[in-house]
């Protein structure tokens, strides 16, 4: 039974990992020649538009991550530690919105962005990603684990909310913040539908995910490999923290 389980899990692993390896291996062939880095040379020295879109993706992912964590931290603290009327009902609304697929909120987002004249601008991709119910929920779960006595003691020492966060809250939930940052980065790195719908007339500010399919055939695999690398590296570096925070904060 154990062997059958190991075999089944190994087969699933191969199924998941095979496309990544196949893409990376195929990226080393160029024009049918022996393994070579010519495709990468073509990608980086001949075609600079690839790098332009790459840095667009980096901008969207890093700004969305930073702002999302900054906004979700006080909100998570509010839902975890501050008692106020209607807290549970509001939390229920957050969880309900979190359950919705993003396609359900695509049209309301489009209408709002249009009314604010933000379509075809970079903010059209950043702003919807910044206000994330999942981030609030995630941080709420982690802040709940901080003993109330720590918060009370910090409040006795200082009446400043910023100092409370800096000395009492953030040090306790650093792994959770790190994990959340990785998850939001990955989500923002892979945006596609939002770029196609919110930026219909400004292809210059597309993220890399939206232009991968239009790369020339001989550099497509190299472009795909470079696109995957940041996420794979982030997981390899912070994978342990991600797993432990998911386990500790019962997500």
């Amino acid at each position: 039974m154990k062997k059958a389980r190991i075999f089944a899990l190994s087969a699933l692993c191969v199924l998941f990992v095979f496309p990544v390896f196949a893409t990376a291996l195929k990226s080393l062939s160029y024009g049918g020649a022996a393994p070579t880095l010519a495709a990468y040379r073509e990608l980086f020295t001949t075609d600079h538009t690839y790098l332009k879109y790459f840095w667009n993706s980096v901008l969207y992912a890093s700004v969305s991550t930073f702002l999302s964590v900054a906004i979700s931290l006080p909100l998570g603290f509010l839902f975890a530690k501050v008692k106020f009327k209607g807290r549970e009902a509001l939390l229920f609304v957050f969880i309900a919105v979190m359950m919705l697929p993003f396609q359900a909120t695509l049209l309301p987002n489009y209408i709002q962005l249009k009314s604010f004249n933000l379509l075809n601008t970079r903010l059209a991709l950043i702003l919807p990603a910044v206000f994330s119910p999942f981030a609030v929920f995630f941080l709420r779960q982690s802040i709940k684990n901080i003993p109330n006595e720590v918060i009370d003691y910090a409040l006795l020492e200082t009446s400043s909310a910023i100092k409370l966060f800096k000395y009492a809250v953030i040090p306790q939930i650093k792994p959770a913040i790190c994990s959340l940052a990785i998850l939001i980065f990955c989500e923002s790195w892979n945006i596609l539908e939002q770029a196609l719908i919110f930026l219909p007339e400004n292809k210059d500010i597309y993220p890399l995910s939206a232009v991968l399919e239009s790369l020339p055939e001989d550099v497509k695999y190299a472009g795909g490999t470079v696109y995957m690398l940041p996420i794979i590296m982030l997981f390899l570096i912070f994978g342990d923290e991600l797993q432990s925070s998911m386990k500790n904060y019962k997500i």
Binding site: T45, T46, D47, T49, L51, F54, L215, P230, L234, I237
Partner: protein, 90 residues
């Protein structure tokens, strides 16, 4: 160990991205021949190029023509091998 290796590769990856963003353009043109074309004359279905537009390699004569790839706003020079040359009747 794995984490350290991944961190090093990550740092090298970003260094490479910044390097190619800053110098990729220069690297591309540094390895291409410089061609000075006075004037191209299109006549009778053919193109007449000045002598300076042709450069000689060991395996034949070549000239370059510009073509546009999917990269809008960037001209790529393609290398063409001359099959034959007309005599200079001037």
């Amino acid at each position: 160990m794995m984490k350290k290796a991944a961190t090093v590769v990550f740092a090298l990856f970003w260094a490479a991205m910044i390097f190619f963003t800053a110098f990729g353009d220069r690297l591309y043109y540094a390895f291409k021949p410089r061609v000075e074309v006075g004037e191209v004359i299109n006549f009778d279905g053919g193109a007449y190029l000045p002598k300076s537009a042709v450069f000689e390699e060991s395996d034949g004569d070549y000239h370059t023509l510009s073509c546009v790839t999917f990269s809008v706003g960037q001209i790529v020079f393609a290398l063409y091998r001359l099959e034959s040359r007309l005599g200079d009747y001037t």
